[in-house]
Each structure stands twice: as C-alpha cells, then as structure tokens.
C-alpha cells in the first residue's frame, strides 16, 4: 500500500508523528539503494534538501504552516533550472551555463510553499526521443519491471515518485511526457490547460505545445501542486491572467461532470491492445456505476490533431536547435537528432497549414462537446503498457500508441490516473480530458475515480516507504 502521498505525509507532519527531516532522510536512503537500479537522478541535492527540511520543520514548530507542500520532497526534471545546480537536459550539447539563471517562477512558488527540492531527474535528451544507451547518462528504468522503459520524457520524475524516492515532482509535457511515464509507472500526472502555469526557466521543446505539469501519487496531490504552480507570471507571456484557484478545495465541490464521452476513434482504439481496451472498459464501467452518464464520442479531426502535434513541435524544436545541430550533430543522441531534424523536412507554408488545422480542429472538438453536452472525455493514456527496451512489438512503440498529443494541440487539460494492470502486471493509465480552464472538473473526476478504486495505491517491486524505516 502506498503511504507516500503528499496528503498522507502532510497529515503525519502535522500530527507530529514525523518530521520533514525524517521523510527526506528516508528518501535519500531510498535513493542510495534505488537510484543505481532505476536511473532516477542526474543530480542529487542532498545537503540543500536536508537544510530545506530543517527549515520546514523549524517553521512548522513555530506555527508557520505553508500548506500541503510544506516539508514535502519533490524531484525536478532536468530541463528546468534550479538554484542548486546546472541543467543538463541529459545532453552533451547543452551549455551548462544556461542553468545559471537559477530558479524560475515555478521553483520559486514551490519553495515559497515549503517544498523540498531533492534533485534533478532523468529525461529523454531535451525531453524528446527514446532511451539512449550510447550516451553517458543513466537510462531510466521502470520500477515495476526494470527491463521495461518508464516512458518519456519525464522519466526520472515518474520512476522516482513510483518508487518512493520523493512524493511528487515536475515533468514537462509537449506530446504526452507527463502523462505517458505516469501511465507506464502507475502514478498520477496532470497536463493542465496551456497557459495556466508559467514555463520560464525551462528549456523549450515545442514552444506552443510545452507544459510543465505535476506528477504524484494521487489526484489530490497533483491538485495541491497545481494550486501552488498556477498563475500568471510576467516572464512568460503565454500565461493567462485568471483569479487564483484552490484545486484541492474544488475536489470536494459538487461535481459538474455532465456527460462523459468515451473516445471511439478507430485511430485510437485500433492502436491499443485488446488487453488495454479491456482494462479501459472496466474503468468506464466503474465510472458508469458511480452514476456518470457515459456516451460514445468521436473526436473530430483526431488524427490531424495527433499528427500535427508531432510536426509542429518538431519544427518548433528545430528552430531552437538548428545552430547546434549544424555544429554538433553527433553529440546529440541519435533518437533526438533524427526526431528534431524532421522539423526541417517541411515548408513554412506547411507549418502554417498545420496551425490552421489545429485551430479548426480545436473549435470542432469544443463545438461537438457543447452540442452533445459532454464535459469530459476519457481514453486509455497509451495503447500498450510499458514496453521492453529490446524486442518490443512495433505497434506498442509506434507514435499511434500514444493517445496524448492531440490534447497538446488543443491545449485542453488532460490527466492520467492508474486504472489497472495488463497481463504482465504492468500499470495502465486512464486519460481524462476536459475543456480549457475546466481543470478543476478533470481533477474532480480523477479524484472521484480514485475514491472508487485502489489502483493508485499499488506499489511496484522497487519501492520505499517514506513514513517507515521498514
């Protein structure tokens, strides 16, 4: 049973049965053992983490409670800069001085809320591509089966949360990089509406598709993180000015689910294994049993939204990487350079057409949801569970088996929660999608599902308990 939720740790911190120092010390001890097996960290900040934990304890003792993240250990994906150390993007190409800018607005908000930054976690190089055994970086492994991938690209944050090396963390999601590893590793991950959370201090991949999102052990935990993370910042003009929301409080408000649309597009269903669809059907049945009105929903222009996300993000990535690709092609990992180079294989006019289609499709999806009275869409997060490093079924590793990028194209909020296991005992993710800025509704449904099920409380083979020395 998983005792590492931010919510549970917070309860124990407040009733005096543990301290932030004890939690952080257990987390560090867990990492001494688990990190070499799982490839979670690129850089650990043990000393500053313990200092931050002591500070959190001291404040708590003096009556200053900064909220749910107070004294909670978090892992940060290593494309996000922090005060403690360099940002490598898990690449030989990245200029380490880029990270000299230190904390961006998001890190400042998390620290202000009392969070303890444990270190920088592994990623796929520049948040794109696949596991690369040729470069001198750890290859992140799945705590449910170390011969399987974690999914990418927020890999170390996902396997660190799943294995109990920290209670939550930051990932980034341009085509699914929060939701995919969350699904593969059996945790909860949220890509909120585009513009809700500032991205300054993060190396961009697809500038208009990138999101920094929370990853944790439950929807409640993600809601607690998002409450701190959301809000306009002058350094990122893509952030929106909206009144602050407490996403934890909204979890217990009367739900506004309306109808729940089950995505029926053949491009999605046909790219999913029978086993995955069976697990998904059970999850939908569970939602129906809870009184939700389930209806089929064919997403208009689904394939265009899916394919367009890859094309445009590759073009946007190419614009950022072009000069270094010219000079240091071989220093990039092969999966990374071949993916980003695709952004140069179509014209400026083609990119404009992709962006026009994106807008047409986004409006069409919203209009259809409105017409049918659908507030929420659901699908499996991926077509298959975590793939093996070698010998994987090509269907399982194809881009079509990622059911996430369409929602980067639209910018809609999308959540992944654990929904069961496949025949190999690997976790499967349920994706919950909502309308823009209806993030609270998506979180409400995910929270309701986690009240009905225990999937998010299951722990993998490689796991440590942050509340116990056992």
């Amino acid at each position: 049973m998983n005792n590492n939720s931010i919510r549970e740790l917070g309860t124990n911190l407040r009733d005096g049965s543990t301290t932030s120092r004890e939690i952080v010390e257990r987390a560090l001890k867990a990492s001494d053992h688990l990190d070499p097996i799982l490839g979670t960290y690129l850089n650990r900040f043990d000393e500053t983490a313990l200092e931050a934990a002591d500070q959190a304890d001291s404040e708590m003792q003096s009556g200053l409670d900064r909220g749910p993240l107070h004294g909670i250990p978090l892992g940060i994906k290593d494309i996000i800069s922090t005060d403690e150390g360099p940002t490598s993007a898990q690449s030989l190409v990245q200029d380490p001085s880029w990270g000299d800018q230190g904390d961006g607005p998001l890190l400042r908000r998390l620290r202000e809320a009392g969070a303890v930054v444990m270190g920088k976690t592994t990623t796929m190089e520049y948040a794109i591509g696949f596991p690369d055994f040729d470069k001198p970086f750890p290859v992140p492994r799945n705590p449910w089966n170390v011969e399987r991938w974690t999914g990418g690209s927020s890999s170390g944050t996902a396997n660190g949360v799943a294995s109990g090396q920290f209670a939550g963390g930051l990932g980034t999601d341009t085509g699914g990089s929060v939701r995919l590893p969350s699904a593969y590793c059996g945790i909860t991950g949220f890509k909120q509406t585009f513009g809700l959370v500032p991205k300054s201090g993060c190396i961009p991949l697809g500038l208009s598709y990138d999101h920094i999102g929370p990853m944790a052990n439950s929807v409640w935990d993600c809601a607690a993180m998002l409450t701190v993370m959301a809000g306009y910042d002058v350094s990122d003009r893509t952030t929106v000015r909206r009144p602050p929301s407490n996403y934890v409080d909204s979890l217990t408000e009367d739900p506004e689910f309306g109808k729940v649309g089950v995505i029926t597009n053949s491009a999605l269903v046909g790219a999913s294994s029978d086993q995955m669809m069976a697990v998904f059907d059970d999850a939908v049945t569970e939602l129906g049993s809870a009184g939700m009105n389930i209806v089929p929903f064919e997403v208009p222009h689904y394939e265009a939204l899916h394919d367009g996300a890859f094309m445009a993000l590759q073009a946007e990535a190419f614009s950022w990487h072009r000069d270094q690709l010219q000079d240091r092609w071989s220093d990039y990992g092969r999966p990374t350079r071949l993916t980003i180079a695709r952004g140069a294989l179509f014209s400026a006019g083609d990119l404009v057409q992709v962006e026009r289609v994106r807008e047409v499709a986004r409006k069409a999806v919203l209009a259809q949801m409105e017409e049918l009275g659908v507030e929420i869409l659901v699908s499996p997060t991926t077509g298959y569970a975590a793939t093996p490093f070698t010998g994987a079924d090509r269907s399982a590793t194809s881009l079509a088996a990622m059911h996430t990028p369409a929602w980067n194209s639209t910018g809609f909020p999308a959540l992944s929660v654990p929904m069961g296991f496949d025949q190999d005992g690997l976790p499967c993710g349920l994706q919950v999608i909502g309308r823009p800025f209806q993030d609270h509704v998506v979180l409400q449904l995910g929270h309701r599902y986690q009240e009905l099920t225990e999937w998010h409380r299951q722990v993998p083979v490689h796991h440590a308990d942050l509340l116990s020395d056992e």
Binding site: T193, F194, G195, S208, Y232, R237, T238, T239, V240, R241, R242, H301, E303, A304, D307, G308, M311, F318, R322, L325, Q326, W329, R334, R337, L338, A341, R342, A344, L345, F346, D350, V352, Q353, V354, E355, R356, V357, R358, E359, V360, A361, R362, S409, G411, P436
Partner: protein, 69 residues
Amino acid sequence: MAETQDDSNSESVNEVRTLLSLVGIELAGSDLASLGRIFPQFRQKVDRMYEIDTGDEVTAAVFRADMDS
C-alpha cells in the same frame, strides 16, 4: 518492383539531403538513410493536412495573457 522501391528510396534520400543542406546540415550514412526511409510517409501526413477545409481560419491562437486581460 524492387527497382522501383530502390528508386523511390533513393529519391527520398536525395530530397532529405537537399532539405537539410538548405538549413546547413550536411548528412550522410545511416542517419540520412533513416530519414529517407520515413520521408514518404511523413510527407503524406503533411499533405493530408491540406485535405481539411480550413477556409479563412487563422493559425491556432495560444491563450495569452495580453489577449485574456
């Protein structure tokens, strides 16, 4: 038939080489071959974008603070 496939692949490789050369990347070997292999399908997907009626639609709007305030 095999000859046609080879020709087609060779044509794709040449197109990729030219496109990358235009942006200052001179590619050869297995990386070029790999991009050449995926290029026809990639191009097909790009062309499929023009099959959707976009009318006079402008490019996708990013939700932005200066539009929202």
